[in-house]
């Protein structure tokens, strides 16, 4: 009996240890190493043939130099802040776009809902990269949007959207919108229409009833959606590098450049470790929110 329970618990933990903890320890180890022109491009490497002395020498070779370096070059903390800012703003914007869509879906007639749901999920059927690329075709200076606006005579010179933060916001909102819509929709869909009627019956206008009943009751969905957008947006690399140009400082991009352009694995690993530590905070908060929502749902 106990043995089976142990097995049941052990399997997921073993999985996590193997595919999360071990890689993390490897990354952490690299972050504590020094750059070297070698394969792999860092020292020290653990050499068990050296016996006890070898292991001791290995640990003596590790230090926090790279982390200290991150604080010295303003590029890094500016990138972290830039990422936090872009992730936060795009989360708010995604919420502003996503909430009305989710609300409309929840209000739609029953027979329409599966279709609408389908439309929200549909973009996932094509590659994320292709979808982000196609935005270049839309927002570039000679892209569809500018051509259309100029054709209609609304503007004379093309709008510079490409390679600005606006392009990154557009990309993030577009990409992560379903993650915002779905949890909010599922919260709104469960909402009993007679609650709104009760609020109106007790003297609320429709708007007040929305504010006092609908909104608070959809809060768990809103919070879940915000985390689901904020967390991946923080480490986002593809969207800023394709749409954001050189002006946009995001930590995901810095990470990529450290790894593949500079081949400075230790610094790149240090960047990754710090990013993870930053992400742990919202992830823990997200878990708390889910637990609370589950409790309230009982």
């Amino acid at each position: 009996m106990n043995y089976r329970r142990f097995l049941l618990i052990a399997v997921p933990y073993a999985w996590l240890a193997l595919f999360f903890l071990v890689p993390f320890l490897i990354v952490l180890k690299i972050a504590l190493s020094d750059t070297a022109i070698a394969i792999p491009p860092y020292t020290p490497t653990l050499d068990l043939s050296g016996g006890w002395a070898g292991i001791k020498a290995f640990f003596q070779g590790l230090d926090f130099e790279n982390f200290v370096f991150l604080t010295e070059d303003s590029l890094y903390w500016k990138s972290y802040l830039g990422s936090l800012k872009i992730a936060a703003i795009s989360t708010v914007l995604t919420l502003l776009v996503g909430y009305p869509i989710a609300y409309a879906m929840a209000q739609a007639a029953d027979e329409w809902r599966p279709t609408l749901m389908m439309l929200v999920i549909l973009p996932f059927w094509t590659s994320f990269l292709i979808r982000v690329y196609s935005w270049i075709g839309i927002i570039a200076n000679e892209g569809l949007l500018n051509q259309m606006l100029m054709g209609l005579g609304i503007i004379d010179t093309p709008l510079q959207i490409m390679n600005t933060p606006s392009a990154v916001y557009i990309g993030i909102i577009y990409t992560y919108l379903p993650f915002m819509i779905l949890p909010i929709y599922s919260a709104l869909e469960k909402l009993d229409g007679s609650l709104i009627e009760a609020a109106v019956d007790l003297g609320c206008t429709r708007a007040a009833a929305f504010w006092r009943v609908t909104l608070p009751l959809s809060r768990p969905g809103v919070i879940a959606g915000c985390f689901l957008v904020f967390i991946p947006a923080l480490g986002e690399f593809v969207i800023p590098s394709l749409l954001g140009g050189s002006q946009t400082l995001m930590i995901g991009k810095v990470l990529w450049e450290e790894f593949f352009s500079n081949r400075d694995w230790p610094v790149a690993s240090a960047v990754a470790v710090v990013l993870l530590l930053i992400l742990v905070i919202p992830i823990v908060l997200f878990q708390k929110n889910q637990e609370k929502a589950e409790e309230a749902g009982k």
Binding site: A198, V200, D201, L202, C204
Partner: protein, 382 residues
């Protein structure tokens, strides 16, 4: 209390000068092809406790929702206090509704649920406090004030819904099956509380109930509905003693229905009718409440408690038939005898259990006489 001589009978519906607080004028409500409320006319007076009774799906909730403003009539008008309510949105109507599904706000505590309507009114803080406390006391929910709706029982939730709708002391209170989830004792207590509240506040109540005993207890008048129409609107006693149709007679309380052909005749005591209902048995003699023609097919309705069961025929009563006791249902205060007549017809007759069970007069398979007077039953033509 102790001056019944002074007390005026509350019967505004009998006074043609009295203005009703609610008037339905030819109100019809259709959902697509389906007619939920069918060309309905109704007057409800200030201070009434008006009960709607009827089978599931007959349109009771729809009627209430039109009053509250959540549905608008397809045809006809609803006049509230002399004013057509059609253009008034639900939040501006002096009407509160207790929902059949309670519709408590799950994110608010019991206290906040009850205070919700008062806060929207902009009432001052301490007056809200006082009012909510009063409501909590009334519904005996003091201990649960801080709990959320999902942390209390079904009956407690129902009481919160009741307290919330009462809190604003509206002119008109709509209660959609307000006491269904309560146990009998609490239900009776709450019924009396409701009547008490109504006396104190003068609020007009419209209540939907499936429990006819409840309707009988609390209501000034009862409306029996069927398929979106009002079949009869009368006082509880009127509905019970003088149903206007087989449907109403059958719906309220237990009743024996006997079919037969009528023959009117005049006697020195007034008009009477003989109902031929079974070959070889004497016709039933009854006093008609409406004119019947010779040979007309009628239904004769008689309630079990109006029939006397005896060993020997009771010559003082106009109707006497013999039968055999098939079944006895002992209900504590009364026993109901199921008696089979010579023609196979089953008749129920109930007698109060004045004596202890062991000394009961009749038992299974006894030959007994059923006796009732000419005024005991009612002749129904529909």
């Amino acid at each position: 209390m102790a001056e019944p001589a002074q007390q005026k009978v509350f019967a505004p519906w009998e006074d043609p000068t009295e203005k009703p607080i609610i008037r339905f004028e030819g109100v019809t409500k259709r959902f697509g092809e389906f007619t939920a409320v069918d060309n309905l006319d109704l007057k409800i007076y200030r201070g009434e406790f008006f009960a709607l009774l009827g089978p599931s799906g007959c349109g009771k909730t729809t009627l209430m929702r039109m009053l509250a403003g959540f549905e608008s009539p397809t045809e006809g008008h609803i006049i509230l206090d002399g004013q057509d309510v059609a253009p008034i949105p639900p939040n501006k109507r002096p009407v509160n509704m207790m929902f059949q599904s309670y519709a408590l706000f799950p994110h608010l505590s019991v206290w906040e649920n009850i205070a919700f309507g008062l806060k929207r009114e902009g009432m001052e803080k301490d007056r809200i406090e006082a009012r909510v406390s009063e409501m909590l006391r009334l519904t005996r929910l003091e201990q649960f004030a801080r709990r959320k709706p999902h942390q209390i029982s079904g009956g407690q939730r129902q009481r919160v819904a009741l307290a919330r709708s009462l809190a604003k002391a509206p002119k008109l209170l709509l209660l959609d099956e307000p006491l269904g989830a309560l146990d009998k004792k609490l239900r009776q207590e709450t019924q009396f509380e409701l009547m008490d509240i109504q006396e104190k506040t003068g609020t007009t109540f419209v209540i939907v109930t499936h429990d006819q005993e409840e309707a009988m207890t609390v209501a000034t008048r009862v409306a029996v509905m069927d398929h979106g129409k009002l079949v009869q609107v009368a006082t509880p006693a009127g509905i019970y003693e003088a149903p206007n149709s087989v449907y109403v007679a059958d719906f309220i309380g237990d009743v024996n229905i006997i079919e037969g052909a009528a023959t009117p005749r005049s006697t020195p005591e007034g008009a009477q009718v003989e109902i031929a209902w079974a070959e070889g048995l004497a016709p039933i003699i009854a006093t008609p409440t409406e004119p019947v023609s010779a040979g007309q097919k009628v239904h004769y309705a008689i309630r079990p408690e109006k029939i006397l069961v005896s060993r020997e025929p009771d010559m003082a009563r106009a109707n006497r038939v013999q039968g055999k006791v098939i079944d006895i249902a002992y209900l504590g205060n009364i026993s109901t005898y199921r008696v089979r007549l010579a023609n196979g017809q089953m008749i129920s007759a109930s007698m109060t259990n004045a004596r202890r069970l062991s000394r009961r007069d009749f038992t299974w398979d006894d030959e007994v006489w059923l006796n009732w007077t000419d005024g005991a039953g009612i002749v129904l033509t529909r």
